[in-house]
């Protein structure tokens, strides 16, 4: 603490990314709620002409929440946590400050271009890797800038030992860099032939190979976008907020290296019963089950951090968010492996159980954790008291209800549909035409849309709370915010 008091951390960049987190969160979730409603009420497809169909909007939703909201959240916390665990201020290096600003503005440019091109239908069509090649190149530059920021700050650090969160930020950087580069390899057709649109490209890989590379990417983008950096956050913010030291260093070590090693093998579970070789499918299946260990390792480490302090759960809504986030992480990392078991996958694959699984993970774990981090940071960024704790409390219950509606309806929808597709009558003929299996889902699609709407309203409450904190919260003496902490950072 001693030398810490003298350090004035500079949160300029962190604030910028907090802003973009909220902005893209709203955009991404509004679109998400709309497309959920479109499946229940197809007339909603025609609000924006050609640009408003479910299919055109879905990539905007996924890119908006993944590359908009989540990445912004990761960077908002990075530009806050990084300085504090390395014990060095951004203000000490004009170079790193400039890099940080460039990082933010170039990223905003990419996002604007992404929205425009995706709306126009300019897409490489690989899931979560839709952006065409010129944008991919810009993304690489943005990523390199973040790398400079990480390793630049590390270069001038005072704290020699890297705190656990740092491991996870570094892994996020490396993992996404590798995956993104290989999956997006494409040949610009206009450059090769001189004909046609200069934006168009053709994938380096074909068919089954393309599928393998894509799901190696797709699965691990979840690893390095939705798991690794979120763990970085919880390892910092939960101890900070609760005043409890991380339960076990050994467990964090084991979970980290375990996760790094095992996660990458599990991508094959997206391709079970496809045309990729059997041994890869089986490997994907087996490693998915093994993945429970390091995943639960982190989650249990977090929950045990609260040992003996469970009363905080009722007193502090932020602790509520983080503890429920860990719990949803456990749920989701158990559900995923179950879906990877071949016989379960035969029913679950291609159905709504999959988006159901994704959303208990992202709504319950990723978004909850990022919001909790921003709630924790806001008073320290703005030197203001959090505007309303009771609003946080209300938001928590509203969103939790939303998540429960979302995943329970999608579980039922998915299993219903999976069973109906394979059902046969007494003569062994298929019992249902395809449209029967669609109409039966209407009530579940409606419930899901309602769940999404509740969650969205909760997000607006969050945005409002942060805005009010910034605009009219009570001034607070920064030093009082430092006290409750087991860590020196």
């Amino acid at each position: 603490m001693q030398n810490n008091a003298a350090l004035e951390y500079d949160y300029t960049i962190a604030k910028m990314f907090v802003f973009s987190t909220i902005l893209f969160g709203i955009v991404g979730m509004v679109i998400g709620t709309l497309i959920a409603a479109q499946l229940a009420f197809p007339e909603l497809n025609y609000l924006l002409g050609e640009y408003g169909t479910f299919s055109r909007l879905r990539p905007l939703h996924t890119n908006g929440v993944i590359f908009g909201f989540t990445l912004s959240g990761i960077w908002a916390t990075w530009y806050y946590v990084g300085q504090r665990v390395l014990k060095v201020s951004m203000a000490e290096s004009p170079f790193l400050m400039a890099i940080g600003k460039l990082h933010f503005w170039l990223y905003m440019l990419v996002m604007v271009l992404a929205v425009v091109t995706l709306l126009m239908g300019i897409t490489a069509s690989k899931e979560y890797a839709q952006l065409e090649w010129p944008l991919d190149l810009l993304v690489v530059v943005v990523w390199v800038l973040w790398g400079l920021s990480i390793f630049g700050l590390i270069g001038i650090r005072r704290e020699k030992t890297l705190y656990i969160s740092m491991w996870y930020y570094i892994a996020t950087f490396l993992g996404i860099a590798m995956l993104y580069l290989f999956n997006n390899m494409a040949i610009p057709t206009q450059l090769v032939t001189g004909y046609g649109s200069w934006l168009h490209s053709v994938s380096m890989y074909a068919g089954t190979n393309d599928a393998l590379v894509q799901w190696w990417y797709g699965h691990n983008a979840v690893a390095f976008g939705f798991t690794v950096p979120i763990i970085a956050m919880i390892y910092y913010f939960l101890p900070k907020e609760s005043g409890q030291a991380v339960y076990s260093y050994k467990l964090s070590l084991l979970s980290f290296w375990g996760l790094m090693f095992v996660y990458l093998w599990a991508g094959g579970h997206h391709l079970i019963y496809s045309t990729v070789p059997d041994w890869m499918q089986s490997m994907g299946s087996v490693f998915s089950v093994v993945l429970i260990l390091p995943s639960w390792g982190s989650a249990i480490n977090m929950l045990l951090t609260m040992k003996g302090e469970w009363n905080q759960l009722t007193e502090n809504p932020l602790i509520k968010f983080m503890v429920l986030a860990s719990t949803f992480y456990m749920l989701s990392t158990l559900e995923g492996p179950i879906q990877s078991i071949k016989s379960v996958n035969a029913i679950a694959h291609f159905t709504d159980w999959i988006p159901g699984h994704v959303h208990d993970g992202v709504l319950g774990w990723v978004v909850f954790m990022i919001m909790a981090a921003i709630f924790h940071m806001a008073p320290r960024l703005f030197n203001k008291e959090l505007y309303s704790k009771s609003l946080v409390e209300k938001q928590f219950w509203l969103q939790t209800t939303g998540i429960v509606l979302y995943f329970s309806s999608m579980w039922i929808a998915g299993i219903t549909q999976g069973m109906m597709w394979r059902a046969v009558d007494e003569y062994g003929n298929l019992a249902y035409s395809f449209i029967d299996t669609v109409t039966v889902l209407h009530p579940y699609y409606t419930i899901r849309a309602v769940g999404g709407l509740l969650y969205l309203i909760g997000f607006f409450m969050f945005a409002y709370n942060i805005y009010k904190t910034f605009a009219s919260g009570k001034e607070v003496d920064g030093s009082t915010l430092q006290n409750k902490t087991p860590m020196s950072a």
Binding site: Y46, V192, T208, Q214, H349
Partner: protein, 227 residues
């Protein structure tokens, strides 16, 4: 050792990278050459079909449709023969999809026809009551980008040796001709005329007569090819 790493960011990063890169090498590389081999007699997509595939990508049908029939009786009964790796050898990107809000389309060309698609894409519920698929009326007026489709065909021909302008089945004739841009455009228009002849929308017919190919014609060419 871990303590040592935690004080040495460079070696830490190298360690992480090695651990995560490992799986990719072992899972993806060994099978690469074999998985890219086409099945016997597989023909590359014509320029019009590529243009149709581009419309399929642009309007992102993959959000609701798969193109992968799994080897279960319930799937082969519904959609036909299960999918084989070699059938996808010319698919860049692969379009297997991950969600079946609508049915699989890998062999839709076997059981749906041009006029069926025309009605269905214009207003799905007119053909299948209660369908939740969006109508794609704009495809009837938007013009497909044939030149970019040609650029793609030429690229894969030159870079990946996709067999355009070759005799694939050994009957002494070229199976899928590409040729120059002028040849390719004329050929695409010829295929488009054949499709437009089976359609009833007058604007589409007029456009094709003018030498322009609406997106709907291209995407129908693509779906008819999915067999």
């Amino acid at each position: 050792m871990f303590h040592w790493l935690e004080e040495r960011p460079f070696f830490f990063a190298v360690g992480v990278f090695v651990v995560i890169a490992f799986a990719g090498l072992i899972e993806i590389l060994p099978n690469f050459a074999q998985a890219s081999r086409p099945i016997e007699g597989l023909k590359p997509y014509s320029v019009l079909e590529i243009a149709g595939k581009e419309v399929y990508k642009k309007d992102n049908c993959i959000a609701c449709h798969s193109q992968l029939i799994r080897p279960f009786k319930s799937e082969t009964d519904r959609y036909g023969m299960y999918s084989l790796s070699g059938e996808y050898a010319y698919d860049r990107p692969f379009l297997w999809g991950s969600k079946r809000t609508g049915p699989d389309l890998h062999r839709v060309g076997n059981y749906r026809t041009t006029d069926w698609h025309e009605n269905h894409m214009w207003e799905p519920t007119s053909v299948v009551p209660n369908s939740i698929m969006p109508a794609y009326k704009h495809m009837f007026s938007n013009i497909a980008d044939i030149e970019t489709a040609y650029a793609e065909a030429l690229t894969v021909k030159n870079v990946f040796n996709v067999p355009y302008d070759q005799d694939i089945n050994g009957d002494g004739n070229v199976d899928v001709a590409l040729g120059s841009w002028e040849d390719a455009r004329a050929q695409a228009l010829k295929e488009a005329e054949a499709i437009a002849a089976d359609m009833k929308n007058q604007d589409v017919k007029d456009a094709v007569a003018r030498g322009e190919i609406p997106e709907i014609v291209a995407i129908i060419a693509y779906m008819n090819r999915l067999k």
